[in-house]
Amino acid sequence: MTEQTPQSQLNSIATNGKPLLEVRNLKMYFPIVKGIFGKITGYVKAADDVSFYIQSGETLGLVGESGCGKTTVGRCIVRAYKPTDGSIVYQRADETTVDLAKVDSKELQTYRKDIRMIFQDPYSSLNPRMNVFEIISEVLRVNELCSPKEMEYMVAHIMEQCGLRPEYMRRYPHAFSGGERQRIGIARALVTSPRLVVCDEAVSGLDVSVRAQILNLMEDLRREMNLTYLFISHDLSVIRHICDRVAVMYVGKLVELADANALYTNPLHPYTESLMSAVPIPNPNLRDRKNRIRLEGEVADPSNPPSGCYFHPRCRYAKERCSTETPVLRDLGDHHFVACHFADELELTGVRMA
């Protein structure tokens, strides 16, 4: 069963050249430590055999409920965590590849400027004791990416691009509102002209009106700076808005991966279907939708997941096979990947288009 890795299929469909980043069978297990002697009693499988690729220039969405492991995957890619197993193949600018999961910390340093991260919380992600210039220029300084003279110019330039007044670079974060702070966080991530940006819930902490500004800004910057985004969020509306393709995670596993339109209108995994059904739609005329799906029970415990398909205890289409056999992520055509035994038999409904 494991012979047919999802990877073999993923490779074959990466048609337009090699992908910018390819995650293969990524595993991130956190040990559960008990007692004063630090005995390991088990593992939380935060990411379990996750595989996907990101093409240069696209925005891939990673969506799922809290605790599904989406943030863990993002942090493995920026190498805040060292993955337990699997590989993260990154394609350098000269088209050679490197496995980021295996490189040592010294070599890793050379990729820090290429793969950057935008954080969720605009308050805790900025050091209150450093001014904006120090915050944004830190990466330039420690990696000696430019001379001290150029540094001021580069910081001013990226601040301007992110909609911040360069005159304010000597101010401290406490002088800025939430939206402005998020712009500072974006400027910090983009000052190195990265190639891949991992956005971890980058707009979740913002007010509605500010969220729209930041989403537009990120979209503009993507075009101007030729960026590739991995956009992690629990908000299906935001994901829909900004992403080309979307991957859905459930309890550490990828359950579906497809073009955004296909995934939203024609989901193939029952979990995706129930997610779509649960999203509140800001249109009261659509409120009395019939046969909405309400999931029963709770998300499975990643340290003690159910047998077979992790979703089977909550799945309304579950059959016997689901509790015994773990489904593999497979392509059902048009690069629509799904990890469900019965994906080609089920008739699932997606989001109704307005």
């Binding site: 954080f119 900025l126 050091n127 301007e160 509102s177």
Partner: protein
């Protein structure tokens, strides 16, 4: 970028017009400035801070502020009571005190002191009196105030059993008692930061061992340990060595709490997003600790240090009072208080308790200061 510029202008308008000068002042303020502004509003802490500063100045320039040397004695004036200082005579600034006379109690025939208003002892500011060697370096004989005639008695806070000036001795004692606190805290700070830092940064087995060790050490009652250690100090040691040893003994007990604070700060910081951001910037370990982590809790550490100085001062006073700390001829508040071990002495010569008043004032002032610092330590709430 025109869209952004319009956006900016409008953002300014939305937030109620461009910022005023005072806003800018706050917006570019470093954490220390913010802390100072916040601290300044804490009146009691400001008062405490001023008092602490005053006492340390007294201690630093003890030779100048004390009217006489702490060893100067006059057996004629044993247990002389405090004199009241008068500043004006005949409308002019001319400080003076009244002299003493003996009185015989007609009933008990006991010799007692009385103030003799007929004898006026003129005083002088910036008086040339007892010669001294300032900090053992510079010769001098200038005192803030002193009797014009050096042989005249001048006992602002009375005299002790050898006829020494209690006031001068309190000022000289401050030098020892206050620096014991400072040096002791410096030592426990260093140990605490090192041990706590290792514990918090390395983690794992090392952290586990250090924490267990601290728990064991902390469970040992403080006073017996002090007593035992202090009793082991050989009598033959010089005063300076004893002083140093006592400081080390005091600080050995103080570092554990600090190490725990430092460790928990490091652990908490590891979870902060901005530390992860710095890590992703590729900030090397040394810079991470010095530039990103320590500034985040330094202010808290300073506050808790301030709050731990009083404990050191009280510890020294207690040990010396019990005769296990510093010994004469070194003079500290605790050493001075050894004279008051008998209740009878306190009853007849209550001014010998003035060193205790000094201890109380300093300890309170340090606590006020520390409280204010602690409140101001996190200006970003």
């Amino acid at each position: 970028m025109t869209i952004n510029e319009i956006d900016l202008a409008l953002a300014d308008r939305a937030s109620g017009g461009p910022s005023t000068e005072s806003d800018v002042r706050i917006e570019v303020a470093t954490q220390w400035q913010l802390m100072w502004w916040k601290f300044r509003r804490h009146k009691l802490a400001m008062f405490g801070g001023a008092l602490v500063l005053f006492f340390y100045l007294l201690a630093a320039f003890a030779e100048f502020f004390a009217p006489v040397n702490f060893t100067t004695y006059n057996e004629q004036y044993v247990y002389a009571p405090p004199q009241m200082i008068h500043f004006f005579r005949e409308g002019k600034l001319a400080p003076y005190v009244y002299g003493y006379k003996f009185e015989r109690d007609p009933v008990s025939y006991k010799k007692t002191w009385a103030i003799d208003k007929s004898v006026i002892i003129p005083l002088r500011f910036f008086n040339h009196g007892d010669p001294y060697k300032f900090w053992g370096l510079f010769r001098g004989d200038l005192h803030l105030i002193g009797p014009v005639n050096a042989s005249d008695p001048f006992y602002l806070l009375g005299a002790d059993k050898s006829g020494r000036d209690v006031f001068s001795r309190i000022i000289y004692s401050a030098r020892v008692s206050l620096t014991v606190g400072l040096v002791g805290v410096a030592i426990s700070f260093t140990i605490g930061i090192l041990v706590g830092g290792i514990s918090g940064l390395v983690g794992g087995v090392v952290d586990n061992l250090i924490q267990r060790l601290i728990e064991i050490l902390i469970s040992i009652p403080t006073l017996p340990v002090w007593l035992a250690l202090a009793a082991m100090v050989p009598l033959s040691w010089s005063a300076l060595r004893v002083y140093f040893m006592i400081t080390v003994i005091l600080s050995l007990v103080g570092w554990m709490g600090l190490a725990r604070v430092v460790r928990s700060k490091f652990l908490a910081l590891r979870e902060e997003d901005f530390i992860m951001a710095a890590q992703l910037d590729g900030v090397p370990r040394g810079r991470m600790i010095t530039k990103h982590m320590i500034p985040s809790f330094l202010s808290h550490i300073i506050a808790s240090i301030t709050l731990s100085i009083p404990g050191m001062i009280l510890g020294e006073t207690a040990l010396s009072f019990l005769g296990l700390g510093l010994r004469p001829p070194v003079v500290s508040w605790g050493v001075m208080l050894q004279d008051t071990q008998k209740v009878a002495v306190i009853a007849i010569y209550p001014w010998l308790l003035f060193p205790a008043v000094a201890v109380i004032i300093v300890v309170l002032a340090l606590n006020f200061l520390g409280d204010g610092l602690r409140d101001a330590a996190d200006p970003y709430q």
